[in-house]
């Protein structure tokens, strides 16, 4: 199915190494996240107060049963990080898909139909681009109350404009191309023209926007959960783990260092992927 309308790949074009590095990091972390319940040495909420603040295994006093040490309540950090990966990755993927889908649809409609539809949607895009997205997300999450679905929807709602802008601009130029005119001349329905002809040709630039945006969404989710406005305990999110770790940071640095490192690695993966996609174009 996909092969029929996908733009023909230029023969012999290779993607830059950044692309593969980024894909490898994201892929690996996704596998760990998916397999977390089986890979994790302990349950993410299992407390053992006798083992609280145990250092990572390679330090004196460490124990390989708790490879990255334990937190204040004696919970295994490594297991919590693995389960936390599920939150970060789920939020990143779903809000990019949702925001990307919404933005693409509206941008496509604005660019293709023009006139009043375009004026209304463009005004909406312009207005929202004048808002600082993370700040707005903080305000809305604070008022709405916190849950995973709300988090995903709010992050999608503050980022859809990025896609809409690019989708609109590309649709404007694709609309005038011969193959679209040909399809119309052959009597194809608007729906079919949009989904079979216009959408596939504007997808590649949107993928770049998606990859770049993914790193922003990961950082935004981490910041929100750091502030206590993301996923609620006992489910571990990396951002809230850093914030928890701060209460014991002079005693147990590993509680703040490792979760932040996990966020940074995921963001590096997304940025590498975006960089690679951009260079490949």
């Amino acid at each position: 199915m996909a092969a029929r309308w996908a733009p023909a790949p230029s023969p012999g074009r290779r993607r830059p190494p950044q692309f593969y590095a980024g894909a490898a990091i994201l892929g690996l972390m996704t596998v760990v996240a998916l397999l977390a319940p089986w890979l994790a040495p302990h349950g993410y909420a299992d407390q053992d107060l006798l083992r609280s603040l145990q250092p990572p295994a390679w330090l004196p006093g460490g124990d390989w049963a708790y490879p990255l040490g334990t937190d204040r309540l004696g919970r295994d950090l490594c297991s919590r990080l693995m389960v936390g990966a599920r939150v970060s990755i789920a939020v990143a993927l779903l809000s990019v898909l949702l925001g990307g889908g919404l933005g693409t649809m509206l941008g496509l409609a604005a660019g293709y139909f023009g006139g009043r539809v375009d004026r209304t949607i463009s005004r909406l895009i312009d207005v929202q681009l004048s808002f600082p997205p993370v700040f707005v997300a903080i305000a809305i999450m604070a008022a709405l109350g916190q849950s995973l679905p709300k988090l995903i929807v709010v992050l999608a709602l503050v980022t859809w404009v990025q896609y809409a802008r690019v989708a609109r601009a590309n649709t404007l130029s694709v609309r005038e191309r011969e193959f679209v005119a040909a399809a119309r001349a052959l009597g194809a329905a608007e729906r079919r023209i949009l989904s079979r002809h216009v959408l596939p040709s504007i997808l590649p630039p949107l993928l770049v926007v998606g990859a770049v945006n993914m790193s922003n969404v990961i950082l935004a989710e981490a910041a929100l959960s750091f502030l206590g406005l993301g996923v609620q305990p006992p489910v571990p999110a990396w951002g809230s783990m850093v914030s928890d770790g701060r209460t014991v940071q002079s005693l147990a640095w590993w509680n703040t260092v490792f979760p932040g490192m996990a966020i940074a690695v995921l963001v590096i993966g997304a940025n590498l992927l975006g960089d690679g996609l951009q260079r490949a174009r």
Binding site: R123, D126, V127, Q128, S130, F131, P132, V134, F135, V136, I138, A139, I140, A142, A143, L144, G145, S215, L219, A222, A223, F226, L227, L229, G239, V242, S243, G245, R246, Q249, S250, W253, T256, V257, P259, G260, I263, A264, V267, I268, N271, D275
Partner: protein, 308 residues
């Protein structure tokens, strides 16, 4: 020019209207606002009295109109917690956040532009590679984590700098560095690419051919072009710093508007949160306008009169 200004002003009105709607809706997003105003065990007739007192018995559009009319007069309600006008509280804290933002932007420009020009003029060298890798890391680190790490190292371990508060210039160092790491990474990468592009153009070859020193080529031609993207990034980032520093203000207990907003969130003090969102949103819009006007000055080729 005139038409451009009119366009921008129309846009400004739309955006401010959107800000006001967002701010108005915040209090309704949290459920029935009456629950925030009355104790749980209040008698139903008292609840109704409070509802009428605050105009919460009217239809939503009418409530919005009331809100807008009062907001235009600068009345955003009283903070539940401080029992003082919310707008006054926010405006009091604004300079503190602005200080953080301005110093951060200064730091960003002082490092980002020279390093970007330097790396961009020797692309492919080991130094350029190093700058690329470093700036890539800079834009990938979560700011709150960086802040926590800096505190751990420079305040807890080495005891060189204070971890939190707002008493002396030394207190500025860690929060500003934390904020500047991301913006510097962004700016350096942009300037580098700009310089790289400009240096391959004909007028640079001409400048070199006529014997202009490399230093002068860079400072007179490359730099000027790089300024345009610098203004774009910094304009956007200054706006983000005014609001987005919520996180960094939280890490360093910096008594600015972001910190005020978090306190408002924690104590369910919605009038206060609304006032912060309104002030920051308005500041962001005004900064964007200023950036657009600055383009006109920096790049005479940009004429907003034709097309749009």
């Amino acid at each position: 020019m005139g038409r451009f200004l009119v366009q921008r002003l129309v846009h400004l009105v739309w955006v401010l209207l959107a800000v006001s709607i967002l701010v108005f809706l915040l209090i309704h997003l949290s459920g029935d606002p009456i629950r925030l105003l009355t104790p749980l065990d209040a008698k139903p007739e008292d609840v109704e009295r409070v509802r009428r007192l605050y105009g919460l018995d009217k239809p939503i559009p009418a409530q919005y109109w009331d809100f807008l009319r009062r907001a235009l007069r600068g009345d955003l309600g009283e903070s539940f917690r401080y029992q003082r006008p919310a707008l006054e509280l926010v405006l009091q804290r604004l300079p503190t956040t602005a200080l953080l933002a301005v110093v951060t932007v200064g730091l960003t420009v002082a490092v980002g532009i020279p390093v970007g020009v330097w790396a961009g003029s020797r692309v492919g060298s080991a130094a350029d590679w190093l700058v690329s890798v470093a700036t890539f890391l800079f834009i990938s680190l979560p700011s709150f984590w960086l802040g926590v790490l800096l505190i751990l190292l420079f305040a807890d371990r080495l005891r060189w700098l204070p971890a939190s508060g707002f008493e002396s210039p030394a207190h500025l160092v860690l929060p500003c560095v934390t904020l500047a790491v991301y913006t510097t990474g962004l700016l350096t990468r942009l300037v580098r690419v700009d310089v790289l592009e400009v240096l391959s153009q004909d007028f640079i070859r001409t400048a070199r051919a006529k014997g202009l020193a490399e230093r002068a080529v860079l400072s007179r031609h490359a730099l000027r072009n790089a300024m345009i993207s610098a203004v774009t990034v910094l304009g956007l980032q200054l706006g983000n710093l005014l609001g987005g520093s919520v996180v960094v203000e939280a890490v360093f207990a910096w008594p600015g508007v972001g910190w005020l907003m978090l306190q408002g969130i924690q104590t369910r003090d919605l009038p206060l949160v609304r006032a912060v969102v309104l002030v920051v949103g308005t500041a962001f819009v005004l900064i964007n306008l200023a950036v657009d006007l600055l383009y006109l000055y920096l790049d005479p080729r940009i004429r907003y009169d034709h097309g749009s």
